[in-house]
Amino acid sequence: MTPANPGARRLVRPTTTVLTRRGLLGGAAGLLALSACGNEATKPSTKTASSLKPDGDLNLFTYADYVPKKVLSGFEETYGVKVNQTYFSTGEEMIAKLVAKQPFDIAFAPSERIHRMVQAGLLQRVDHDAMKNYDEVLPAFHTPPYNPGDDAANKEIAPYVGAPYATGGVGLAWRKDRVTKMTGSFNDLWDATEADGHIYLWDDLVITMQMTLVHLGIKPSEATQDDLDQAAESIRGIRAKLGGFSGVDTQMIQNGQAWLTPAYAGDMFLVLSSVSDPDNWGFQMNKESALFNADNMVVPATSEHPGTALTFIDYILRPDVMKKVVNYIGYPIPTTTGMATYQKLTQAYPWLAFDDALFEQPDQWITPIPDDEFAMWQKAWAKAKLD
């Protein structure tokens, strides 16, 4: 076809590249090929941190302000190494960076995710026999009880858990001037009428859904689709009474907005130590479950200084160091010295103390969500949260 104005053809630059379908598909294929480069089959790592000799500076991957500065500087002075801290704010963020093969020497891994992390090959084994202070760890944690009802999983993770760190139980905190009828059960969240508009649930799938399931008398480890739907409905049932879904912190307690809310016992201790009216706050562990979960010192598979990492874990377990750690973070740590220090620390608030024997009961622990059920839990959680 002859153009109406032949001269106009010259206005089109001869070098202009036209995006063709083939080009587009080629580009897309390139991107997909690039994305596929990141995939590797995963299996538990066979590496082992077994030397108690520092072999370089320590790259510590931790929550902010989670290990006392004095303890870190003590480690630096004692072993002549430097501690480089990198902070994360959620377990998911921590896992994402380990998946990206960041070379951290120590990370703090939540109990309900360790099995997955082990199976994904993110952690390396730790030789507990090489440590001088491992006997400090309570016997119940030599094979950690983090996978209730799944002994095989507990045995599988045992060599990968360097040592337990802060261990928390989830209870309920309430303002005594607003809420008067508490019964020592998670049912109080659903039954309390005095706190309408000021009940805050945690914006946390694992804890809030499991709290709801135990409230309904359902074992989280055995929850079916129907059970999860029931739990979602149960949460929806009290939406009108909720002030909101808050972060897993004490912000809403400290500003007085929450009158009834889940809280970690350790966090409550810190809150009561800082608020002007500590007597106005009550806290209860609940008869259904303590919903324990623990952070653990682990050595990532990508660690470049496993000797320093093992030395650090052993150093934290040292009784004098452990005492400083528990006094600082206000959480129990399941070691002999850690528990003794915690009991002493909470003397003023006896309801924050609990019997160590509870650790050994599987029902008292948060249950890790099985891999093949995760999407099901996520959908139920979305139903519960979104209106």
Binding site: L31, S35, E92, I95, L205, L242, G244, G256, F374, L386
Partner: protein
């Protein structure tokens, strides 16, 4: 390719490479993740393709969240536009030699971390905070009624945070007005409001569209404000994505929802850009 244009084309290479590496490739990975199955820790397994991540995106629950997010973004943008126009007009007209200083003052809160500013509003809007106490005393807010956890609280927080993004483009548009046009209007017996209506406002409409667009897009992707200041009925799309990425840990689901946001944003951006260029052509000097 002529020898004359070759150097210019080569000069464009670093910028192009930058864009491809840091924008096109991540975008492609995001789309690939949206169609991937999650692995054991919730990360995408590229190569194991599925469309199931989009099931939730097209559910009625997500639809309601999307609608709410659009609504809150629109309200915030309109509020920012009104307040921002007043602030920009005042600075431009009466700022004199302090104009730069006053514009800097508008930006001053941005020197403080975003989250800290939201947490400051958490204290201000809580039941024991000054706003609620004053509102109760003035009977503006019924006794035992909270402000925190309401849509009003979310919009207050969003307007506060994104107001500077409305002020700046409007201020720039106001500064670009040829003052002789206003004088001419007044010489032709236009009242001050008439001069504003027929000269100033049309000349700044494109700036207003830019301001609306920037605030809208920022609000649409925001998650922290509704998370901290909102209640269970104020969940926005940004929160859902944040939850999927960092809370629940299902990256492919988060990627699918992000793609949804991307499509909505592209459509909005296209519409608003079109409106902006039309206004520019119609009223631009």
């Amino acid at each position: 390719m002529s020898a004359r244009t070759l150097p210019w084309r080569l000069a464009a290479l670093p910028g192009t490479a930058w864009l491809v590496l840091l924008y096109v490739v991540p975008l492609g990975l995001l789309v690939a993740a949206a169609f991937s199955q999650p692995d054991i820790v919730g990360h995408p397994v590229f190569g194991a393709w599925t469309r199931s991540n989009f099931d939730a995106v097209f559910s009625s629950m997500y639809g309601r969240v999307l609608w709410r997010t659009l609504w809150v973004s629109a309200l915030t943008s309109v509020a920012c536009l009104i307040v921002g126009y007043c602030v920009a007009y005042t600075i431009s007209t009466y700022g004199g030699r302090f104009k730069t200083l006053l514009v800097a003052a508008v930006l001053l809160p941005w020197l403080v971390d975003y989250l800290i500013r939201i947490y400051a509003w958490l204290q201000l809007l809580s039941d024991d905070g000054p706003f609620v106490r004053l509102a109760h005393q003035l009977n503006v807010l019924p006794e035992h009624t909270s402000l925190l956890g309401t849509q009003t609280a979310v919009i207050i927080g969003l307007v506060y945070n994104f107001l500077p993004f409305a002020v700046l483009p409007i201020f720039t548009a106001l500064e670009g007005i040829d003052r002789s046009q206003i004088e001419a209007a007044r010489d032709l017996f236009a009242t001050p409001s008439g001069a504003f209506r027929f000269v100033v406002l049309p000349a700044t409409l494109a700036g207003c569209v830019s301001a609306f667009m920037i605030v809208f897009l920022l609000t649409f992707g925001d998650f922290a404000t509704a998370q901290v200041l909102g209640g269970p009925g104020q969940i926005m799309l940004g929160q859902v994505i944040q939850d999927e990425f960092t809370g629940v840990g299902l990256l492919p689901a988060g990627a699918a929802t992000t793609c949804q946001v991307l499509v909505v944003v592209i459509l909005l951006l296209g519409g608003l850009s079109w409106a902006s260029s039309r206004l520019e052509r119609r009223f631009g000097s």
